[in-house]
């Protein structure tokens, strides 16, 4: 379909221009912070001196991308129907601690153990997202407000749980509290074997490349199928594009709000699992935070489409990874946050512009084709 291809090319072109512009703007920020932009950009591609360090850098890059990708998917499900689930942050933290705790209470063969952990995480995330959904459909509470508020509840609740009911043993000298360790069968096998294929040394830090990457890919493909091919996906799309038309066509808006919110929360529940199952084996008080908020940026950057979100997550992870290298290059690492922020802003602007241009082109194309096919009527 050439029309669709046109639109896709325009989108990609817009994103590329936005990213280049973002780097240009950030060069100014780097100079202002007393660094050298060239050193900074060199740092992005500085994966370390030794082979082992390079492998570790690649692993860190991929390991960062996986939770960002899942977070982007979770946010995108809501965005698709103009539902702003800002509560991904709270949903994933609560889901992560519950899943880590439940997983530590029993021991079963690995596939069962891991499946149960995944299901618990999805269920907790989904149920937590059900609260704002129910409030919205019964009382008309704006989901933006309620999910932001529930984030605070979830964050406070997890800090309580990790110290109180779900706390495991604290090793001597440890400052952090943690849930009990998962049994060996709860750990997801890593993907270090891939490094062998390319003749690289396997990474050693963070437990290697997390195998949950595969689950994330399956999730992304599955979500694409659901959104683009099923009736449920169609009704989500219709509700997002034109609510009154969807209502008049027999789509129940309340059911859709609940379904989309719970699906979004369920996916959000999985965000913490790569880290738990791949590296730490537990949820502890310095567990990676902020992934839910980053997911909003990733979803925006990826235009709410799984493939776009994958690229956005890789880009963000690529930038995040360079923080260490930046410090070595004597550039303030917070420059990365500036770059990310500027990229998102510019991409949103670029999306708006390319979207309009694409619609214009479509109209013009239709007009031209019709103009060709139909001669003007002769005056009476």
């Amino acid at each position: 379909m050439p029309a669709g291809l046109n639109r896709a090319l325009l989108t990609v072109a817009g994103a590329v221009v936005a990213i280049i512009l973002a780097f240009a703007i950030c060069s100014v920020a780097i100079v202002a912070a007393g660094g050298s932009p060239f050193d900074a950009f060199a740092a992005f591609f500085d994966f370390g001196a030794s082979e082992r360090a390079q492998s570790n850098s690649i692993a860190a890059f991929l390991n960062r991308a996986v939770p960002l990708f899942i977070a982007g998917l979770a946010v995108a499900v809501g965005f698709r129907m103009n539902l702003f689930n800002i509560g991904v942050e709270g949903q994933y933290r609560l889901a992560a601690i519950c899943a880590a705790y439940v997983g530590s209470t029993f021991t079963a063969p690995a596939p069962i153990q891991i499946t149960v952990i995944i299901l618990v995480a999805a269920a907790v995330g989904g149920l937590y997202a059900l609260i704002p959904a129910v409030m919205k459909v019964t009382r008309g509470v704006n989901e933006v407000i309620s999910t932001i508020m529930l984030n605070y509840v979830a964050i406070a609740l997890t800090s309580y749980l990790v110290r109180g009911p779900f706390a495991g043993e604290r090793a001597a000298g440890q400052l952090t509290t943690t849930t009990p360790e998962l049994p060996e069968s709860g750990m997801f096998p890593n993907l270090n074997v891939v490094f062998d294929w390319f003749g690289l040394l396997p990474p050693t830090r963070q437990g290697g490349v997390w195998g949950f990457l595969l689950v994330a890919i399956v999730l992304g493909v599955g979500l694409w199928v659901v959104l683009e091919r099923t009736r449920f996906g169609f009704t989500i799309k219709a509700s997002g594009l034109n609510g009154p038309a969807a209502l008049a066509s027999g789509v129940d808006p309340k059911k859709m709000v609940v379904a989309a919110m719970v699906l979004s929360g369920g996916i959000a529940g999985l965000i913490g699992l790569p880290e738990i199952l791949g590296d730490r084996g537990a949820f502890n008080s310095n567990f990676t935070a902020g992934l839910g908020f980053l997911g909003i940026a990733v979803a925006l950057l990826g235009r709410n489409k799984p493939l776009g979100i994958a690229f956005a997550a890789l880009l963000f992870a690529f930038l995040d990874r360079a923080q260490g290298a930046m410090q070595i290059a004597d550039v303030p690492p917070s420059v990365i946050t500036i770059i990310q922020g500027v990229i998102v802003l510019l991409v949103v602007v670029a999306n708006e512009i390319t979207g309009r241009v694409a619609l214009r082109l479509e109209e013009r194309r239709a007009a031209q084709q019709l103009g060709r096919n139909q001669p003007l009527e002769v005056a009476a």
């Binding site: 099923t230 009154p244 969807a246 008049a248 066509s249 129940d252 109209e363 009476a380």
Partner: protein, 536 residues
Amino acid sequence: MSADTLATAKPAVELEGITKRFPGVVANHDIRITVDPGTVHAIVGENGAGKSTLMKILYGMQKPDEGTIRINGTEVGFRTPSDAIAAGIGMVHQHFMLADNLTVLENVILGAEPSKLGRLDIAAARARINDLAAGHGLRVDPDKLVEDLGVGDRQRVEILKVLYRGARILILDEPTAVLVPQEVEELFQNLRELKAEGLTVIFISHKLDEVLDIADAITVIRRGTTVASLPRGEVTSARQLAELMVGSELPTPETRESTVTERVAFEVRHLTMEAGGHHPIPKGTPVAAYAGQLRAEGKRLLLDEVAFEIHEGEILGIAGVEGNGQSELIEAIMGIRPAHGVISLAGRDISAWSTLRRREAGIGYIPEDRHRQGLLLEASLWENRVLGHQTRKPARRGIWVDRGASRRDTERIVKEYDVRTPGVDTLALALSGGNQQKLIVGREMSGAPTFLIAAHPTRGVDVGAQAAIWDHLRDARAAGLAVLLISADLDELIGLSDTIQVIYRGRLVAALDPSDITPERLGGYMTGAIAGTEET
């Protein structure tokens, strides 16, 4: 001051070679119009011919790609409507732009407030408005809230608004579309007075009888260009104008022989909707008693015990001034808004069913506002075909959307309903209004509906598409479809309907036989001027 004595004066408005290349189906191409001062100049053309674009150019909302505009002999280049207003041009939009919760006076001065020493000078404003109103015969009470005004009064407020800003040239975009015949006559009286004061009126319409009634000169636009410019005296009949407009024979909406059968396809009884939210009826109270109780309490009823039945093969027309309960009636029938009373389809009570179930049971729905309720503008045509049919063949295959079958069926609609489009993957927004509407009609006729709600089915579509849609409605009626037709176009109502019911303030006040009713008498019932009596 008459048109003749001023014929040699500089033209009030002169458009020459106006061309606007625009991404859409119709653009303006080499438009030439000369409007003499102190006249009513009508610009006629079917919907989508380019009248609105032209007026937007004249009012500074869009810039022409080529051509010149001269106002009173001076060449101008408007960048914004403010420039046009400064040059003495005022526009009365088809859809009123008034703030409901402000008074007439506040609306008129909004954006052009007179001030004295930095404070709002209400007294000066009032004096000026009263002056204008008295001078031009535009009688409105400046202290009334706009929300309490009728359509005709609101229009007068709009006209006052532009006069207040010093306009000497008035553009009226389809001013009669929202008026009943009596109000049209009042408007024309106002326009004649304005003309007598030396003001120039540009009157855009496609209602030819009205144009012949009011205009001193007429310009016809077809497919974006001016095809004829005639003084009123040279136009002999509406038919002549219509043929210039469409370049072909004019269709009429007449149904031929009656196809009404004995079988009731659809029935509504005691349908009642209260303003200010739906409340369940106390158990054991019949709807009629409940409605009576609400009336006794002085509550406003959006729908007041509406009852009718439609037989297979019958078109029931609902006439009424907009805002008298038509939208509520449709939404109650579709299950979009809750209401009391019984709705039954083929003898089965469906009043507790969801919208989806009603659709699946065979109710088709052509919505009054196709962009709001009928289409996903940013989705492809075939996805729009799926809309509303997402649970039925051919759009559905288990949990999946059957893309292949949906595409093929959309191609069928495109062919059968003559939807002019490059293909079924085109986005709906790239189509002209008439083609969008034909797609909707085709979709709603799919899946063998037994009952169809057609709300303003030909609003804003060109004459060609209008004729095609009327033909499809007639064919479906002949095949036994029951149709509820709601339209503001009285000719359409009278021409298509087997029975006409008039709705006034949420009540069906009269049942009329379309074969012996005139638009004027119908207008009388619609405004409540003629008390409701049952006749057949």
